[in-house]
């Protein structure tokens, strides 16, 4: 039997191997501090933080209030200039709906207030992962998501920063998607 703690550790190890910055597992208070600190660093040049609306994990942590208190500029999906703003935002923050230790990836679901592009257009992505949602294997996660309810219209799995092997088969980062991915694990 693997304990959830061991699975979480393996997950953090896999994500780090995938060239993500990993944080945690943290208490909600510490996780919030990390999120704010990362958001500020990615927007140090005055760019905005793209934040979904109605994300249960982010709302529970109080991410919006903390970011506003920290004085960063927020971009929300209900803003009229969401898309043009997203193209120049410094970071997108999301939570995940599942994660996998063995393969090292997180799953994001689309939804109302949870646009697909939040984790795609900005050069950095901060993803909050609940430790209780980390599965040991990909097969277990697939099965878990299927039985958790209707699949979202877009279920996106992310391993780390965008990469390619197309140039003489050596890995090169930052092709289309985010160049930086921060993983913040929330102990729950």
């Amino acid at each position: 039997m693997t304990t959830q703690g061991a699975v979480t550790d393996a997950f953090l190890f896999s994500m780090a191997a995938n060239q993500c910055a990993v944080f945690g597992p943290n208490s909600p208070a510490v996780a919030l501090d990390v999120i704010v600190e990362r958001a500020r660093e990615h927007t140090a040049d005055g760019t905005a933080v793209a934040l979904p609306i109605g994300d249960p994990t982010l709302d529970e942590l109080g991410v919006e209030a903390a970011l506003l208190a920290a004085g960063v500029t927020l971009l929300r999906p209900d803003d009229a200039d969401w898309y043009s703003g997203l193209a120049v935002a410094g970071v997108g923050i999301t939570s995940s709906i599942a994660a996998v230790a063995a393969t090292g990836n997180v799953a994001l679901g689309s939804g109302v207030g949870l646009p697909r592009a939040t984790s795609l257009l900005p050069p950095a992505h901060v993803c909050v992962v609940r430790a209780s949602q980390v599965y040991a294997t990909f097969a277990e996660a697939i099965s878990g998501l299927l039985h958790a309810g209707p699949l979202p219209s877009a279920l996106t799995w992310i391993g780390g920063p965008s990469r390619t092997g197309d140039l003489e088969m050596r890995t090169t980062f930052g092709v289309h998607g985010p160049k930086v991915v921060d993983i913040v694990v929330l102990a729950d």
Binding site: T103, S110, V112, P115, S153, G165, V175
Partner: protein
């Protein structure tokens, strides 16, 4: 077929191979494949149970492919997806072009897909004035170079970094450094403009789950995410064998695919698309179209070539193939190269193209060993060599003349349920299942030669006589025996190798001499 599609007019694989072997740049680029050589064995080493499970799922699917297609279609329709069944590349192209024109599409972004290569979609779009941009970096490079991909996972594997920099510099109008990061950064910015302005995203699908209607697109770069997220229309071109019965099957299929392809535990991105954007969502495609492509695939069901439809396009057979590693993908002159390409090309083109490809193999069996879907690739190559003696399609459709496909209404939210479909109906080439080969091969020179030879050598006395004749011939033509540089009738051998000309007694003569006590071993 025209353009850079499935097959371009050109010389034989033999002629193309000669060019490839003598191209120093290509040889330098192909040496990078060494990095990937051992990926094929990773699945077997780390998860030996996956291979059997994958093969089991694929066989289960193929055993009732039409049934799974119907289930998939019903599910897709319920999600508001528009489904079009295309029997031929022409039908698939016509549907997509019609849709694009009706919707006023001016720019298309494509995510790397073997199926759209097979139907030559990019050229067809360009021909009607629609800009079509390949967004996988490697595929973008070959598009700019006006070439075709040479590897199904790394399309520009045939190019050195210097050649890639040249191609990108030409497009940039400025000289880019021969360094990976700045080249990648330039392409990122360039393609970002294209994504934002595209009206239509076109992808293939690595798998489509019948029970949930989920389309899976695997990438490392994120271009698949762009193509399925930003444009208002998403079209997925899905060869029929991509269907898998259950979403849960992806739990083993995807890790096996990725590990066999690159050796990595998982690809960087997986896009799982279940229907178009839903009410209240602000991104994702408003319209999602799935084009189910048959193109001579279903006719293979129930024949020994059915196994080939189990292929999951991982590229492992290319990476381990001595021929592929020597000549690269372009020598095959097909969208599909390597061992799987040698089999699939003549099959899906109905025997019109690639008939010489199955002979370009040493039959070493490395492909069979590497295949995570347990397809007996080397055996199929041998079988094809025999079946291709008969002109025409490798597998001939049954005599039963199929009914013409019903005219399918096309609308923005799925075609109506007023057209319930019987299993398999809707593909113009619906056929009865047959077993190959049942047709008599014509008497070619080769067949006559082997026939005569086998008749002769089925008789020991004739065999012995032919050995004696061979000895006499060798003696007459080559007074000196042993290793020689040239010998009559053996030029194809001696152009590259010395040949051993025997002169002494045969083994059986020596055995007889020993039996008589004339020789001691």
């Amino acid at each position: 077929m025209s353009g850079k599609g499935l097959v371009t007019p050109g010389p034989t694989m033999k002629a193309r191979s000669k060019v490839a072997v003598e191209d120093p740049q290509l040889q330098a680029a192909l040496s990078n494949l060494d990095l990937r050589l051992f990926t094929a064995g990773v699945v077997q080493a780390e998860h030996p149970e996956w291979k059997d499970r994958v093969a089991e799922i694929r066989r289960e699917t193929l055993a009732d492919l039409d049934g799974w297609i119907d289930k998939l279609e019903a599910k897709l329709l319920s999600l508001g997806v528009v489904v079009h069944r295309a029997a031929t590349p022409e039908e698939a192209r016509a549907y997509i072009l019609g849709l694009a024109q009706r919707e006023g599409v001016r720019r298309v972004v494509k995510s790397k897909s073997m199926a759209t290569e097979e139907i030559d979609l990019g050229s067809a779009l360009e021909a009607v004035g629609i800009e079509s941009i390949e967004t996988d970096l490697g595929e973008y490079i070959v598009q700019l170079a006006d070439e075709r991909p040479s590897h199904m996972i790394t399309p520009a594997i045939h190019k050195t970094l210097g050649q890639i920099a040249d191609v990108l510099s030409k497009e940039a109008g400025t000289e880019l450094p021969v360094v990976r990061e700045p080249l990648t950064a330039w392409a990122r910015d360039k393609l970002r403009e294209k994504f934002v302005a595209a009206d239509m995203g076109i992808t293939g699908a690595n798998f489509v789950a019948a029970d949930t209607g989920t389309i899976v697109v695997v990438t490392n770069e994120g271009n698949g995410r762009f193509c399925t997220s930003l444009p208002r229309i998403h079209v997925a071109v899905v060869p029929v064998e991509k269907v898998v019965p259950r979403f849960e099957d992806l739990g083993v299929l995807l890790p096996t695919l990725v590990m066999s392809a690159t050796g990595a535990k998982m690809s960087n991105y997986l896009s799982m698309v279940t229907g178009p954007r839903r009410e209240g969502e602000i991104d994702g495609p408003e319209q999602l179209h799935v084009v189910l492509l048959d193109h001579n695939r279903r006719v293979l069901l129930g024949t020994p070539y059915e196994d080939m439809l189990g292929c999951i396009r991982c590229g492992a057979c290319l990476n381990v193939c001595p021929v592929y590693r020597t000549v690269g993908g372009h020598a095959y002159d097909s969208s599909y190269s390597g061992p799987m390409g040698k089999i699939l090309t003549p099959l899906v083109t109905g025997g019109e193209e690639g008939r010489d490809l199955p002979f370009a193999s040493t039959l070493c069996g490395a492909c069979t060993e590497a295949c995570p879907a347990e397809i007996p690739l080397a055996d199929l190559l041998v079988r094809l060599r025999a079946d291709l003696r008969t002109p025409g399609p490798v597998v001939v459709p049954g005599a039963q003349k199929p009914a013409p496909p019903p005219a399918l209404p096309v609308g923005p939210v799925g075609h109506s349920d007023e057209h319930p479909r019987k299993p398999g109906e809707g593909f113009a080439t619906a056929v009865t299942r047959i077993t190959v080969p049942t047709r008599r091969a014509p008497w070619s020179q080769r067949r006559m030669g082997f026939d005569a030879w086998s008749r002769l050598w089925a008789h020991p006395s004739a065999y012995r006589a032919s050995l004696r004749v061979g000895r006499l011939g060798a003696k007459a033509l080559r007074p000196r025996a042993g290793w020689v540089q040239r010998a009559p009738l053996l030029r194809a051998w001696t152009d590259t190798r010395d040949v051993l000309v025997p002169s002494g007694p045969t083994f059986r003569e020596r055995w007889a001499a020993r039996e008589r006590g004339e020789e001691r071993w």
